[in-house]
């Protein structure tokens, strides 16, 4: 095995999983560590389920095998459940308390688990659940949810939080810099209880 620290970031196309993975990659560069990643592009981005794999200290392939992830960061409750089998035993979840139902649930009248049912299932793993959208709004923009999530997960990632913050500064558009720095700090404060 490689000894890499494997993080899976999941969500719905358009929620900012790619920026989150870029920030982690940049933080690895800052610390001079190897990093590998893989992500979903193309047609899969049109509101579909998306996944970004990041392997800190990864030397070989970019894909995390099921049962190997050290950390799962999810921007949606249902997506957290969908990818939960990627976590290793004892692997941690940082999840935004947000549930967007797939359109197919309405158009094809599919049954879907309720918020309470999903959370009960997720609690089988060490779970940090946060209202990332509210916290992002508090930081200045609901679009900064991805950075809130990274802040909240920072304590569980083997990277110096200062490197992560510097990576946020380097990766986000200049005009949203202050909002994103606030979003990261808000998430980080929350991580005390994660």
């Amino acid at each position: 095995m490689t000894g890499s620290f494997d993080i899976l970031i999941v969500g719905i196309g358009g929620q900012g999983t790619i920026l989150a993975s870029n920030i982690l990659g940049e933080a690895c560069l800052i610390e001079g560590r190897a990093v590998k990643g893989a992500e979903t592009h193309g047609m899969a981005q049109r509101g579909g389920s998306v996944e970004s794999h990041i392997r800190i200290d990864g030397k070989y392939g970019p894909l995390i095998p099921p049962g190997q992830a050290d950390l799962l960061i999810s921007f949606d409750l249902l997506e957290a459940l969908r990818y939960s089998h990627f976590l290793k035993d004892g692997g941690k979840m940082v999840v935004s308390r947000q549930l967007v139902m797939p359109t197919s649930v309405f158009t094809q009248k599919l049954t879907a688990p309720s918020e309470a049912e999903i959370i009960a299932e997720l609690k089988k793993h060490p779970l940090c659940l946060l209202d990332a959208d509210k916290m992002a709004t508090e930081a200045g923009s609901v679009l900064a949810q991805n950075v809130v999530m990274l802040g909240a997960a920072a304590g569980s990632i083997p990277l110096n939080p200062e490197s992560l913050l510097e990576a946020v500064r380097r990766s986000v558009p200049k005009k949203t810099l202050d909002i994103n720095v606030r979003a990261f700090e808000l998430g980080r404060t929350f991580s005390g209880t994660c």
């Binding site: 990659g25 590998k36 049109r46």
Partner: protein, 596 residues
Amino acid sequence: MDLQSGIMEQRYLLGNEAIAHACREAGVDFVSGYPGTPSSEVIDTLRMQKDRSYYLEWSVNEKVALENALAAAWCGIRALCTMKHVGLNVAADPLMTSAYTGVTGGLVIMSADDPFAHSSQNEQDTRCYAHFARIPCLDPASVQEAHDMMQEAFGLSEEFGLPVLFRPTTRICHSKGNVELGAPHASGRKGEFHKDPRQYVVIPAHTRVLHKKLNEKQPAIRKRLVERGFNRYDIHGKTAVIASGIAASYVQELLPPSVSFMKIGAYPIDEDWLSDFVKQHEKILVIEELAPEVEEIVRQVAGCVPVFGKKNGYAPYEGELSPSAVAAIMTKAGFISSNPFQQKDPIQNLPARPPILCAGCLHRGAFYAIRKVFKDGIYPSDIGCYTLGLQLGVVDTTICMGASITVGSGIAHSGEPRDVVCTIGDSTFLHTGIQGLMNAVYNGANMTVVILDNRITAMTGHQPNPNTGTTACGVETPAVSLDAICRACGVSFVETIDPYDMTGMINVFQEAKKRPGVKVIIAKQMCVIMMRRAGIRRGKYTVDTDACTGCGTCIRFGCPAIEFADEKARINDLCSGCSVCAQLCPVGAIAREAKK
């Protein structure tokens, strides 16, 4: 590493960004291609550079792109041509003969394969084309190697005077990693065409000679690819794994120290060199994605050494490999004692979340009107975002670019009595749709063609096309007239309509339904993603819950902005204000949100 000015830099890059950077380091002079996942970001990266020292175009299709790049390479400059694997089928005609004519400047053809068909119609293997055309092919195992190979590919092309195929897969193009980069440089080369009919006019007398020359080049190519280190091995014991492409990275993660390892990164493989390696072992396992290209050669040289691979059921022919899949193959073939990964299965019966047409997408309105007017119709469709119309029941066939109109006319001529209504995007129509339309009119088909015109190549990341009014580099250019093209093909019924105007759409379709011959309806509206990027905001819509009867008409429209809870419809934040649902609501319960 000390490249050019000695500047070296580490960056965290997408595979395609690293590939684009390598082209700049190699001093590329000419770039062409047609967008296709997973290849598109190479040109998207190159066209966004501020200090471009190269000519760059998005071409109308892959054949056009390759012929342009080939000619540039004939003029002695370095040319890159990019496409996805199925695009190489379109470019196959010039490809096969370009191996005969050869090149003077380096020509690298990037054809990105898509194992598991993440965003493709098949899982074909570009390495087979290289074998077929007898040209070298590079097959990287990582983002860094993709960068390094692309940097060297131009020189290799010049050394042998042959186009080089560069074949990354989705897991290279869309992987990321820390990459060591060299400095980009502008070559300053100018093209110069030296007339040489024996090289560039492939009449039979010339081509017979050229074919012989191509074959004579092969042994030296095979040796050179080993010398360059693209194909290499380490001997550790009496058993060996031979792997290629990204599968080599997965194998290295799992390889026990007592097992020898051969990494194949380039083709053609030198059989003598391969044979020396194989004969030093008692058992060989070949792991590669897609076609058994490596395995077949290994089997040719193996003699009585047992070979494990696809041909005896140890590895799959189809789909994508992964660390877990490779671990399973190595376990089954006895190269590792047990699968080191915990076997965990996904939770069953969760509602799937497939990609879906955006809220406010013009295609949804057009599909709704088609289904309304042509209830029993047959709906051939094409390649683009609108293939997602499958979810709306308005896509009956999709095979390849441009095949909506041709499949439509084939069905219409077959004696099938139902109405045929094709859908095709503007970029796809310009790619290979026009010939089908001309053919349908010429041969008197009865059918309706709907051109879904959002003036951009949306699905692959919003690349401009001749219908957009700008080039790949943002220079204004005359936009083609789809209306005039259709009329020039002989279509007399050509109507352009706003797909947000339901009444107008339905009236036009009803009119088309009454008429014989080929009818074209151009459903024209801006892509909602482009609209948002352009800063255009329309007011959102909202449901009056007192008026809503919960009939479900708007839900069946299938827009992701419309949800259903407590027997009432609700519009969420995704609404882009297209207004179609308000037009559909039978009780008028949907209206534009009052300004706050």
